[in-house]
Structure formats: structure tokens, C-alpha cells
Amino acid sequence: MKKGILEMCILAIISKEEVYASDIIDRLKSGNLIVVEGTLYPMLSRLKKAGHLDHYWQESQAGPPRKYYRLTPEGEEFLQNLSTSWEEMVKSVSSLTSKNKSNNE
């Protein structure tokens, strides 16, 4: 479950702009979504294998070329689906929990 949410977040980050791994890490960290960076790389590799992501190399001023990630059309669609089911889930969970509250009162 957490993995699914994380994957959605990664795809969402990449859909906004083409980024490289450290950018993704920074965003996820600022949202308190990952604890250790090592968890990100297997996920990126898995998303890439599933055809949702694509990468290319870009020269950087400091150091070696960096690996930038971008979404494939399938990835866009996958993200759309994920977002829809996420919103549905949030809606039903919040309606459930608010109902509980009113019952308790």
C-alpha cells in the first residue's frame, strides 16, 4: 500500500518536470515520504521496467552526466488511473471516518 502511494508520488514528481534522482529524493524527503534513499532506486528501476518511465543522460556543469527521468505516455495514463483511485479512496475514507465521529458523538 505504501509502495503504491510512493510510486504515485514519484510519477507525480516526474510528471511536473524532468528530474534526476537527487531532485526526486529532495521532494520526497521534504514530504517525509522516504526514510532512506536506497528505497528509491529499486522503485525507479521497477517503474522503468513496467514502461512507465524513461531516462536520458544530460551533461551537468559539476561532475559526470546525470540520469534524468521522464514519463512515457503509458506512465501518464498509469498516473491518471492512480490519481483517480487515490481520490476515490481519500473520499471514501474521509466519509467513513467522519461518519464514525458523528456516531461517537
Partner: protein, 221 residues
């Protein structure tokens, strides 16, 4: 006064303290074991390596040499295999079946450490190919010479067909290349301590060989 080592992390050269290097190579070895059963493990490892390089560059500032504190700090950020394992195991428990289908072939792969014995060829104690010493290690025979004698006797008794058996075993057994292989060859448990012990042994070995070499060189002159 400490020795330093030159390493290449994702295409960037680093000068690293010897202790720090040992610590780092142990860490990479453990990661390799951790990701072994995942597809694309090589890519994951090279990504991690590049990222470690970036972290070092960040920590170094105007300093020149990567020290053990830098390595420890970077490992803290990247996470030890235990950290990664804990998160993944937790995820596996909470995963529902739908997610399993989405992430496809990934889930049925076990990511437990292997502790089982495997047959390797022990090239470090070899006469011909390390087949006999590998067999000795596998069956816990203290001295591989007994296995060798066994093969020679069997070769004589069976008019040569044991030699064929020897060649087949040679062909189908891999040579023990890494510290991990050597542990598996003896059926020792693979954990941080065992590997660091093994890596240290290998270091000592290299040092010994180097000393012998330099001695013989001096004698020649």
C-alpha cells in the same frame, strides 16, 4: 599516518582513506547481496554508487580525502540493507493482491539472504582447477589432498572414467570469486561480520603476496 586508496564512483575519482574504503566496499558488497534477486540490480547499484559519489562531493567541500565519517554519514542517508529490508518486508505484509499484479513479476522473488551451501571451485587453494579443494570445502574435508588422492585412485580403478567425472565437475562448477562465494562454499552464514572477516582475510592475503613479491625482488637485486 594512513594509507589512501583511489576509487571511481560513477565516473568521478575519489581519494579515500583505507579504513573508509574497507567500510565502503563492505557496504557495497552487502547491497549487492541485497539486490541480487531484483531485476536491474546492476543499474540500481550503479545509481547508488553515483549518488554516494555526489554525497561525498557534498560532504568534502574543500577537503581532499574521503574519511570514514563521510562514509558512515552517506550510508546513513542511503540506508543499510537492514533498513531497506525492513521497509520492504513491511510493504510485503501490507501489499494487497491488486498491487501484486500491477508490479508484475517482481513480487514472487525472494529477497532473503541465502545461507545454503553451494559448490564452488576454490581457485585460491588449487592445483589444477580448484575442483578438488572446492569439493573438500563443500564436504568439510579439512585437507583437499584427500579428495585429490581419491580422484587419482578412482581414476586408476575405473580406467579413466573418474577423469571424465572430474572434467564435468570442473565445467559445471563456478569459481568462487567474491567473499560471499567463499562463505557459501563453506556453508558459513552470510552476515556483516562474516563478510568483513573475509574481506580482511583477502586484504591480508594480498599484503602477504605483495611482501613476498617485494622480498624476492630485493633478493634479485
Amino acid at each position: 599516518m594512513n594509507k589512501v586508496v583511489n576509487v571511481n564512483l560513477g565516473g568521478v575519482p575519489f581519494i579515500i582513506d583505507e579504513n573508509a574504503f574497507e567500510h565502503l566496499s563492505k557496504y557495497m558488497e552487502l547491497l549487492k547481496i541485497h539486490f541480487k534477486h531484483m531485476e536491474g540490480s546492476e543499474e540500481i547499484l550503479s545509481d547508488i554508487e553515483s549518488r554516494l559519489g555526489e554525497l561525498f562531493t557534498e560532504y568534502l567541500g574543500s577537503r581532499q580525502i574521503v574519511e570514514i565519517t563521510d562514509v558512515k554519514k552517506a550510508i546513513g542517508v542511503m540506508g543499510t540493507p537492514e533498513d531497506l529490508g525492513a521497509e520492504e518486508e513491511w510493504e510485503e505484509i501490507t501489499d494487497n493482491s491488486k498491487e501484486r499484479q500491477q508490479s508484475g513479476d517482481y513480487n514472487h522473488q525472494k529477497r532473503k539472504y541465502q545461507t545454503g551451501k553451494r559448490l564452488f571451485r576454490d581457485k585460491e587453494n588449487s592445483i589444477i582447477s580448484g575442483t578438488c579443494s572446492g569439493l573438500a570445502a563443500y564436504f568439510g574435508v579439512a585437507d583437499p589432498v584427500w579428495v585429490r588422492i581419491g580422484f587419482v585412485l578412482a581414476g586408476l580403478a575405473s580406467a579413466g572414467s573418474a577423469i571424465l567425472a572430474y572434467l564435468i565437475i570442473w565445467a559445471i562448477t563456478p569459481a568462487a570469486k567474491s567473499a560471499k562465494d567463499r562463505l557459501m562454499m563453506r556453508g558459513e552464514k552470510i552476515d556483516v561480520d562474516a563478510i568483513s572477516r573475509k574481506v580482511k582475510e583477502e586484504f591480508d592475503n594480498v599484503e602477504k603476496q605483495f611482501n613476498e613479491f617485494s622480498d624476492s625482488f630485493k633478493k634479485k637485486r
